[in-house]
């Protein structure tokens, strides 16, 4: 969290994507691995918010040590894409974009086939073993996301799409 700066805490109206008929959430969470300490508090906060447990395995985002670099932690969290691959791949049409453009899985329609997990480039949807359905980040229903609130080193940033894109570009060395 960039503590000194005032931040927008809740999702606003979805923004149109130029050149398409699609809309996308105005805010997105981006991870800066250079700042991440691997504390796991984001996963724990998420797990408590959604499952009332501190077991990080219940979290809906994932932080792991990079296999290529010691002490460097990488993350996977849902970007609520413009064209979500999970949504496109679902054979039961259980995945949809809501009015805030949060990409959601309907627990009533999901049959737990796992196609969404296979289709997502970063394998975000995971199996809820008790309910035998797939679950994913719901952006805390558009409210101040718990993972972001939990992050002391400021590795997770809650940014408007454009700023997030610039940050990711910078993190990738301008590409």
């Amino acid at each position: 969290m960039t503590s000194e700066a005032k931040i927008q805490k809740n999702l606003g109206k979805p923004i149109p994507v130029p050149g398409t008929e699609e809309k996308v959430s105005d805010l997105v969470i981006v991870h800066d691995p250079n700042k991440c300490t691997g504390c796991g508090q984001c996963m724990i906060g998420c797990a408590y918010k959604h499952y009332k447990t501190f077991d990080r395995k219940f979290g809906l985002l994932y932080v792991n040590e990079s296999p290529d670099r010691k002490g460097f932690y990488v993350n996977a969290n849902c970007q609520h894409c413009v064209y979500p691959m999970c949504l496109a791949s679902c054979p039961k049409e259980a995945i949809f974009k809501d009015e805030q453009s949060i990409v959601r899985i309907s627990p009533m329609l999901c049959v737990g086939c796992g196609t969404c997990n296979q289709a997502c480039p970063i394998a975000i949807p995971r199996l809820d073993e008790e309910r035998k359905i797939y679950v994913k980040c719901d952006f805390c229903d558009g409210e101040y996301p718990m993972c972001f609130q939990m992050c002391s080193p400021g590795a997770l940033q809650l940014l408007p799409r454009k700023e997030a894109f610039e940050l990711v570009k910078k993190l990738r060395g301008g590409k």
Binding site: M1, T2, S3, E4, K6, K35, T37, G38, C39, G40, Q41, M43, I44, G45, A47, Y48, K49, F54, D55, R56, K57, E65, R69, K70, G71, F72, Y73, M146, Q149, M150, S152, P153, G154
Partner: protein, 307 residues
């Protein structure tokens, strides 16, 4: 005694009120003593904050209920405000809890109203929001200044190699506190060894969730690196992190048969030594899972060599 019975500022109340937290008095009496010695030595009007409650760790309580966290943390802030002190934390967890709470209360007047309703119900004075929360590193670097700290170093710890652990919450304001930590350590004359695991979390935050990963995959990697590099000490800031180091020593010894021999020292201890205090002045050799004997012997040998 209830929080309602908080006294007003008295003559013996200092400008800076030291919020000890839970681990410092229980497991780190040497660090507490060294912090007091260093503060007095540098001429700070520094004493214990009176009538403190748990800092209410935000990592746990914020997830459970942000309003509960804010209301309970605000009791410490209200006490500090009433006593007219600047609240000083050495534990990163306490610091981040108080710092975030006061920031959130400033940003959101509705939360301030809610918290004050709770405080009044508990028989306390409402919070105005004028209280200042500072980390001990800020106090040393900003209020005392590096010039004065360096001028007080009479026994530079040249020849002592250390690894250092900053801790996650000290990164709350970016690189400010980690840089202060490095500058202060360098002023004592120690040699800082950089490793890939310097930034890694101690694992305390993960301990609730996955004790194995917390010990073996986080703190364990740091301690094994220290053992491998044969450094003289592991310097820390935070008492919360120390709790995890303390736990890792026992777990590794009992479950893996690995005995760590790198003592975990608080940076105040290094400062006290550099200012000319003896280890026995702050009980450096007592109550430690890893003895400091080797470090103390090396310091003696180096001192004799210089003479």
């Amino acid at each position: 005694m209830t929080t309602a019975q908080t006294k007003n500022k008295t003559d013996d109340q200092t400008k800076y009120g030291y919020f000890l937290g839970c681990v410092m008095p229980a497991k780190m009496p040497w660090a507490e003593k060294a912090t007091m010695l260093v503060s007095k030595h540098l001429g700070l009007d520094f004493g214990y904050m009176k009538e403190t409650l748990c800092c209410v760790r935000p990592g746990v309580w914020k997830a459970v209920n942000p309003d509960w966290w804010l209301s309970i943390t605000a009791q410490n802030l209200a006490n500090a405000e009433k006593q007219g002190i600047v609240m000083v934390d050495t534990c990163n967890g306490c610091y981040v809890s108080h710092y975030e709470a006061i920031q959130e209360l400033h940003e959101e007047p509705e939360k301030m109203k809610m918290v004050n309703e709770h405080l009044v119900k508990a028989g306390m004075d409402p919070l105005k929001g004028t209280v200042r929360v500072r980390h001990y590193l800020e106090l040393l670097y900003e209020d005392v200044g590096m010039k004065k700290i360096k001028a007080n170093v009479v026994n530079p710890l040249t020849g002592i190699k250390i690894m250092r652990h900053v801790g996650c919450h000290a990164r709350k304001r970016g690189d400010i506190l980690p840089n202060y930590f490095d500058e202060i350590l360098k002023a004592t004359g120690v040699e800082i060894i950089d490793t890939p695991y310097d930034k890694t979390c101690c694992g305390l935050l993960l301990y609730f969730s996955d004790s194995n990963q917390s010990i073996l995959d986080r703190i364990g990697k740091k301690m094994l690196t220290a053992k491998e590099l044969n450094v003289d000490a592991y310097a820390i800031i935070c008492s919360g992190c120390y709790d995890q180091f303390d736990r890792a020593v026992k777990v590794y010894k009992d479950e893996k048969g690995i005995a760590f021999d790198t003592p975990i020292v608080h940076f105040s201890e290094l400062l006290a030594l550099a200012f000319g205090y003896k280890p026995e002045d702050f009980g450096m050799m007592y109550c430690r899972p890893i003895p400091t004997t080797k470090l103390i012997d090396k310091l003696k040998t180096l001192k004799e060599g210089k003479q």
